[in-house]
């Protein structure tokens, strides 16, 4: 048996692959967040950035890569969850009383699936333009797709802004447990540093969520307008 094969056939190997795909997704989230934050630099910068990306020759390669990554992470997660469910065919009549596990660890699959559902909504909203078609197809003065206008008009509607804030909270719940688990999963656990690493991981999860949530919030509070 090949070593990679052998590794991925074990429970630990699958968990490592799940965590590695999670790390790659975090990388995507960070880049995506930086792109989103161009909103605060005004319509010129944001639309230029969006135009650059939408006309980039590697746009579709990137999209295929991302779909693969999400698919891989989700498939591994569901497979692992099903296997773990099968490991206890008869459940406890009184249930297991939780002691050290958290709400976040017990609902990781649920928060993951909700993130996936949000992702579909998000793509339909801003990429396909099916949720608010009236804002989706506008052009700016230079004839580029007016992404800035689309985002500001969309979040002007409280229901839409709230749905994004809720989604970011759920993403945060997933990332907080996911990121704080990484050091444990990858065996980075030196007594001196592990506490700091777990704090930093939690902080990164919080930063991603606050960063993304700042956009609908700023529009809502009127800090950002057309």
């Amino acid at each position: 048996m090949g070593r990679l094969d052998g590794l991925l056939n074990t429970s630990i190997g699958q968990k490592l692959a799940l965590a590695a795909s999670g790390v790659a997704l975090i990388g995507f989230l960070l880049v995506h967040l930086l792109g989103n934050l161009t909103l605060f630099q005004g319509p010129e910068v944001m639309n230029a950035y969006a135009h650059w990306m939408q006309t980039h020759p590697l746009l579709w390669a990137g999209r295929v890569g991302l779909v693969t990554l999400f698919g891989l992470h989700t498939t591994l997660a569901i497979r692992l969850a099903l296997e773990n469910h099968r490991a206890r065919p008869i459940r406890y009549a009184a249930g297991l009383r939780s002691q050290d596990s958290t709400f976040l660890s017990r609902y990781i699959v649920l928060t993951g699936l909700l993130v996936l559902a949000f992702l579909v909504y998000h793509l339909l909203h801003f990429t396909v333009g099916a949720v608010q078609p009236e804002h989706a197809r506008l052009l700016d003065e230079q004839g580029r797709h007016d992404v800035y206008g689309m985002v500001v008009r969309s979040f002007g509607e409280p229901a839409v802004a709230i749905s994004y804030l809720v989604a970011m909270t759920i993403l945060g719940l997933h990332l907080f447990h996911g990121l704080r688990s990484l050091s444990q999963t990858f065996g980075v656990n030196h007594e001196t540093y592990v506490g700091a690493i777990r704090w930093a991981a939690g902080g990164l999860a919080l930063a991603i969520v606050v960063g993304n949530a700042s956009i609908p919030l700023s529009v809502w509070l009127g800090w950002i307008s057309l």
Partner: protein
């Protein structure tokens, strides 16, 4: 003290079981949980019923035989305490207490509260054994071991193999057990030559027995009567990554049957 017990009764492995309610009366607060069950069983015998079967041996918290899930917690509500060392004074007089066996696919029920835990033995056997004559024990200090390493190895070696970690894990994972068994040797110079092979074999044996995977709930350590910390799981993960990177060989485990006595 008086209690209402709701106990899992199952006559044989092949039969379906159910929870049955009993009353126990005049229990001394100084009795251990197992002594309380002894009282129940004496009552049952006197009234012509089958006593409740449960595992136990040392009754002093060192053998790892007792295996009761009490009110949804393996070994009951006291931390760092086996069921045999759990005293009835920790319960409220008049309380209703549920008692169930360890639940895992790898731990089939034999009868009532007794489960078959040989899966853990087979995992340990997969680590290998000394098959050559190595002579008498070497001088105690001929191989120096750093104090810190000796302490950590000893902490891992405290595992009594009761399986509470599996019973407590929402995934019925045996990772804490396997982590303790591997790290016990991984910290010592004597454990180095076979470290890679041992790590891979134990993990593959664990998977083969049908235990779940770790998803970092940390319920195992909370239930462990010896307080084995979850950082050993992290150490196991690191050893496993290293084993895969350093030419470890996968899939060389002997067939399951060959491991048994």
């Amino acid at each position: 003290m008086n209690f209402t017990l709701v106990v899992w009764r199952q006559a044989r492995a092949e039969e379906t079981g159910r929870m049955v309610e009993y009353r126990v009366e005049d229990v001394s607060p100084d009795m251990s949980f197992l002594e309380m069950l002894d009282v129940l069983n004496e009552d049952l015998i006197v009234s012509g019923e089958e006593p409740v079967a449960f595992d136990h041996d040392c009754r002093e918290g060192i053998c790892g035989m007792c295996s009761l899930v009490i009110d949804g917690v393996p070994h009951g509500p006291e931390r760092a305490t086996t069921a045999c060392q759990l005293h009835m004074r920790h319960f409220k007089d008049g309380a209703t207490i549920t008692i169930e066996p360890w639940r895992a696919k790898a731990f089939p029920v034999i009868r009532d509260l007794v489960v078959d835990r040989r899966a853990l033995d087979r995992v340990v056997q997969a680590g290998g054994y000394v098959s050559i004559n190595t002579g008498s024990a070497p001088d105690a200090n001929s191989i120096p071991v750093a104090k810190h390493d000796a302490d950590v190895a000893f902490q891992a070696a405290e595992c009594i193999g009761c399986g509470a970690c599996v019973a407590a894990c929402p995934n019925a994972s045996a990772m804490l057990f396997v982590a303790a068994k591997t790290q016990h040797f991984a910290r010592l110079p004597q454990g180095q030559p076979e470290r890679t092979r041992r790590t891979i074999n134990l993990v593959e044996a664990m998977d083969r027995e049908g235990f779940g995977a770790c998803t970092n709930h940390y319920e195992c350590a909370a239930a462990c009567p010896k307080e084995i910390p979850v950082r050993f799981i992290s150490d196991l993960n690191r050893d496993f990554i290293k084993a895969a990177a350093h030419h470890g060989r996968f899939g060389t485990l002997p067939p399951q049957g060959d491991l048994e006595e």
